[in-house]
Amino acid sequence: MRLFIIKILLFITVIVSVNQVILFVAPYWWGNNMLREKMPYFYENQDKYNTVFLGSSRIFRHVIPNTFDSFVNKRGYDMRSFNLGTAGAANPETFYILRKLLKQENLLINTIFVEIVHNMPIDDINYHTSRVVYNMDIESLISSYRIHRDSKFIKEKLHKRLFVTFAERLMLISYMQDLISAIFDKPSENEYTVNDGYLKKSSVSAREAFLKNPKVLDRRIKRIKQNFKKLKSSKEYYNQSYLDYIKDLQILAKEKNVELIFVLTPRNHNRDCFFTFQHIDSNKKIDLNSVNKYPKFYSEKYTYDVGHLNHKGAKLFSKVLAQEYVKMKRRERKKKEKD
């Protein structure tokens, strides 16, 4: 019996060890097909850029680096940015990429814009797919677990998914094909990299779904307004684990002399990240979520679907983001001058 068990354990150990070697060889973004094209391009052309944007599709589809750069450059700030946002990225994935970027030696960028996104650790659509590669890293797994545990607004508890994903990672069950292609296939330069990482939203089905039922936008606006109302009455709520993780990332960024700027994007109605964003201990925050302050981001003219702006809206967003950045920098300068 003992021999049988030992052999089984040995077999598993051999597999887990071989898998670790394969994972070590693979680039850290291997699970995300958009980043599989963006990241190699970005690293190859790192000297061209000093700023990156990280976040979900509300970064990927809304930030046009060219528009942003030309606005700030005219106002005396040297920014050459690249959009590393990807569709469907919740905070565990965004923070995973951020942490990996910050831990990298010889990092040439000095500013990172990070979107504060919702906490869902693994969406249904991504479960058992290599897209959840971020939860395969122990640090990311633990933080995801803690943030998810402390969330008051996620009804469905998905802890099991985190650990299932981690177990799958040990054996590389269902990930091997993507992993091999990430190691061996040369990424093609395509639409994801043409406009410095920006790509306008063009999903026909999403657009048609919105046009069929445009009232969904009203409901979302109502929800976001409610968030702001509740903010006044329940300022005490925040997700401590989320804040702790952000704090760790801020320390890491400081060590690397990287300016970390947190962004809350329009159309984001998630309460967990909305309330937590208010408690981030930093002056480097840009809140573009307010319906009253930025009504244009919620108007039909700039809408593609319920969660996204169209290309015109993206242009407007990039410009407003640049304006807010310039304002933030000027405030900082004034404060320094006072001090």
Binding site: F4, F11, I15, H128, I180
Partner: protein, 492 residues
């Protein structure tokens, strides 16, 4: 719980460790624990149907005792038992089919009646556990086994988790004797079980689960595709259904070995058969044997008792008995697979080819003698094997079609001028074709063995053996389709 699911990967080691470390010294505990694990395994899918399973098992236990007590007086309890088992099966599986067929028949002669169909889920494994139950009570009635008073043994023999969902149909007459002896840890049996599970997973995840994308497309869009593509689709469906079910059986038999049980073999490389009878001795063996013992032989016996003459209409009585027995048996075999005319035609076609084979046996022997050719001539064996394979492929077209007319249209489109053009591969990857070739080559090389990773009598260096295991495992990781596809035979 599916064998290829995450839940099973967690369930199996827990049950294994408790079984061999905690309850291994006590036979009653071993059996009780396995029964609890089996019910947990089955109830994981839907606990309501677990109650049905327990009800049926308890009924058969009681009926077994009653048959044993009153056997000589009449058949009342046997018939009651058969009615309970078959009634349950008919209600859940065939009620709607029979009702709608009846309504169609009535409407074809000009009357219209409302179809009183019911909306009911087919309980997983019902075709298998009702057959286990039937064999239990019939065997008691025929004095082949004694009615077992140990309720745990009977319940476990009718719901043992490796076989409950899709067989093999391990009859209680074979399983109960194993339940009466304490299972001791045997290294060779367990490691062979692990190898068989590994091969079963490879067969299911790498071969079977990579094919539905292509075969489903072929069977859906058959009217727009060329003959050669349809033929390729039909051949690959034959490979898919074999890999799916043989893979399942390997996992089931291997899992049973992990707990010290020896189950009947269910597949013996059927596509390497030279004729249709050999094919059915190698395909779904436990079901074929069940139908032989509980349907064909009783029919043949009762017909032979009624026909006293040597010939009827100048045809030998033996042939008549065989033909009646085969037609009825294969009609029921087809119906067992599903409540659809396509399955009935599939069964009858196999019956037809078995009859043809039976009739041509003597003329064939004479013919071979005349041309002075050996029966084992490699050319003859090869030609016959290819013919047999294509007969089976044609019948699978009926099996996998939604309607009989669809199957005929499929065949009509297939046997056209475009049969000789190059097939379109569509969603099919070249890698999948290469893997199928490797898979069939390995199975051919190991065709004399119980399963393709059976090494016990080979003195192979440890390193080489481990290299083989790791290669199979990594082939699963690299080429496997991890979408937890249900086993095809779960639908039956």
């Amino acid at each position: 719980m599916l064998f290829n699911s995450l839940e099973f990967i967690i369930f199996l080691p827990i049950v294994f460790l408790v079984y061999w470390f905690i309850v291994q010294r006590n036979l009653k505990l071993q059996n009780f624990f396995l029964l609890a694990a089996s019910y947990f395994f089955y109830g994981w899918w839907d606990w309501r149907f677990l109650l049905l399973l327990i009800f049926l098992a308890l009924s058969n236990y009681s009926i077994g005792l009653l048959i044993s007590k009153y056997r000589r007086k009449d058949r009342f309890f046997l018939i009651t038992g058969l009615l309970i088992n078959l009634g349950t099966l008919v209600y859940f599986k065939y009620y709607n089919f029979f009702v709608s067929s009846f309504v169609d028949l009535i409407s074809s002669i000009g009357y219209t009646i409302k179809s009183p169909t019911i909306n009911v889920i087919l309980p997983l494994g019902i075709s298998f556990y009702t057959f286990l139950s039937i064999s239990y009570i019939v065997d008691i009635y025929k004095n082949k086994i004694d009615a077992n008073r140990n309720i745990i043994e009977v319940l476990l023999s009718l719901s043992f988790f490796p076989i409950i969902l899709a067989g093999p149909i391990e009859r209680p007459s074979s399983l109960i004797p194993q339940l009466k002896k304490i299972r001791r840890f045997d290294y060779n049996t367990l490691s062979d079980g692990m190898r068989q599970i590994l091969w079963g997973l490879f067969t299911k995840i790498v071969i079977a689960d990579n094919l539905p994308g292509f075969t489903n497309e072929i069977f859906t869009n058959y009217s727009n595709l060329q003959g050669s593509t349809l033929l390729l689709g039909a051949i690959l469906y034959a490979i898919q259904i074999y890999a799916d079910f043989a893979g399942y059986s390997d996992i089931a038999i291997g899992t049973a070995k992990l707990f010290g049980f020896k189950l009947v073999r269910n597949f013996a490389y059927p596509y390497f058969s030279r004729d249709i009878t050999v094919f059915w001795k190698r395909w779904h063996i436990s079901l074929t044997n069940w139908f032989r013992d509980y349907v064909f032989l009783p029919i043949a016996y009762s017909v032979s008792k009624k026909i006293k003459k040597d010939r009827v209409l100048k045809i030998k009585t033996d042939y008549i008995i065989y033909i009646i027995g085969i037609i009825l048996t294969w009609l029921l075999t087809g119906l067992w697979h599903g409540a659809n005319y396509t399955f009935i035609i599939w069964g009858l076609l196999h019956g037809f080819f078995l009859i043809i084979y039976h009739i041509q046996k003597k003329p064939r022997k004479k013919f071979l003698k005349k041309i002075k050719a050996s029966n084992n001539n490699i050319l003859i064996v090869s030609i016959e094997s290819i013919i047999t394979f294509f007969i089976v492929v044609i019948t699978w077209i009926f099996f996998n079609s939604n309607t009989v007319s669809q199957a005929f249209s499929f065949i009509k489109n297939m046997v056209s001028g475009s049969l000789f053009s190059l097939p379109e591969l569509g969603a099919l990857k070249i890698a999948t074709l290469i893997l199928i070739f490797i898979f069939l080559t390995i199975e051919w090389m190991q065709r004399e063995k119980q399963h393709a990773l059976y090494f016990d009598n080979i003195k192979m260096p440890l390193v080489l053996r481990w290299a083989i295991y790791l290669s199979v495992f990594y082939a699963i990781l690299i080429f496997g389709a991890f979408n937890e596809t249900e086993f095809i035979y779960f639908a039956f």
